[in-house]
Symmetry: C2
Amino acid sequence: MSVYTVVGDEALANWLSRYHLGSLVESRGIAAGITNTNYFVTTTRGRFVLTLFEDLQLEELPYYLNLMSHLARHGVACPAPIADDSDRFVSLLEGKPACLVTCLEGADITHPSPLQCRKVGEMLAALHKAGSTYPARMDNPRGPSWWSRVSTTLYGYLDADEAASLRAELRFQESQRFLHLPAGVIHADLFRDNVLMKGDDIAGFIDFYYACNDVLLYDVAIAVNDWARRDDGTIDDDLASAFLAGYQSSRPLSSGEIEAWPAMLRAAALRFWVSRLQDYHEPSPGAMTYTKDPGVFRRLAEAHRGRTSFWL
Amino acid sequence: MSVYTVVGDEALANWLSRYHLGSLVESRGIAAGITNTNYFVTTTRGRFVLTLFEDLQLEELPYYLNLMSHLARHGVACPAPIADDSDRFVSLLEGKPACLVTCLEGADITHPSPLQCRKVGEMLAALHKAGSTYPARMDNPRGPSWWSRVSTTLYGYLDADEAASLRAELRFQESQRFLHLPAGVIHADLFRDNVLMKGDDIAGFIDFYYACNDVLLYDVAIAVNDWARRDDGTIDDDLASAFLAGYQSSRPLSSGEIEAWPAMLRAAALRFWVSRLQDYHEPSPGAMTYTKDPGVFRRLAEAHRGRTSFWL
């Protein structure tokens, strides 16, 4: 499913000779991920994950790869990029920017326990704290100005009810100010399918290609909106509480963050409501047809409006 | 055996709070290693190795720890140091410089197979190649000027036979010139007890605290002198050949290196003959009494003199 670029063994073996990883044993395409091409690559030294970037450009990648390297160096569970003989993490393969990272054990889970939510919360706090010494910066390309701009093109596709609801949500967010809250490096897409677990332990956070600099609490809200969400779309109080308790065991929220939390949950729901509407109504040419339901995040945003208790 | 400095749980928990590794679960002293204090430290995030340096100073450590980090980043199997919240690998604990590194699985082996020797040779070549982009420099403190100087103080302890043999060996080395050979980062102490193996795979090279910049072939000779040495002190041709074949599969020796190889084997034997004589006859005050037999390397140096075939 996610092998857009086919990598021949000869090209791969030749590219691998820039690394200090022995020689190629085998490579196998990975049928997961939506945006990039991924392979398991086994060399005489072990198993690695090869990613070919289908959209991101060579010059955009150092932010993400240096960040993963920085986080791994600080003990945050995530794949560590491997440097080649020129000390680079990325170079062209089959005409695409490509990198190798360490291969983590574990698998993603669809129905986490409170303990697992707690551990993900703890690790997210570790990411936020370790990110504070990461020197590079990347603005969030999916922030308020993005969702406002994209929404104007979406209303035409929506029925009157959904359009009114989306408009109300955007208006509400325009009245909010988050810029005084603690900011730093955020993962920005820490859904269940971006965390590999081994039992109750976190093998690693993956897919850092939406990471950016933004308000830390926004990252917490994105994660809670997914980790605590039941199959029926409602939030499980126990899972949300456990996630937040884990997070706060390492990084307690400030009073300003606690005050902003209800609105932040809605902002995080709005962001995915809008992006899923865009993927649904205006798919980019050549994109995979694996489109996710925008209604999940509409219903979540609407449920957050009426919520009176927020697990803090 | 190797816990010179006792680390209390409270001091450790406090020191650990500088890291993004969760909270302390337990610590346990490691009864291996001669120079430093080592603990297994388990946190809510996993298991790490804590080292307190008994001799090395805070300002000497970045060379070694940045090197390990550089090598790990290039896929060389070795422990990766963990950075703290100030982005440092080392800081004081109980008044000693201390660091945390990832905990490798595996154990050292006393009787390697040819396949295992081959793999160690391959990985040593990977270390030498990956080291070529490491920017820091450290002269070898155990080079020719060191062994010449130390030997003058040792003759008084030796019987006439050994003194004559040592003098002859030193004179031979004075006639050799190795400075034209490829140089770079070397481990300088890659004995069997400094490699953790998991079956036939290398879990990691450890104990980089003799690493320095020197002639690469010297590192190969130090390793072959140990990995191919039988219990009776003689060299096993199959093990030596396998080690060298593994090394050359990744980094073929130049004609200059092949020419220098017989003399280099003697230089590597001489270095440990001298250091073990020094440990035996002039132990530093307060040192452990776990002194190794200098005769092993005397006999090896003498055997190399008469050797006619060198496994290349």
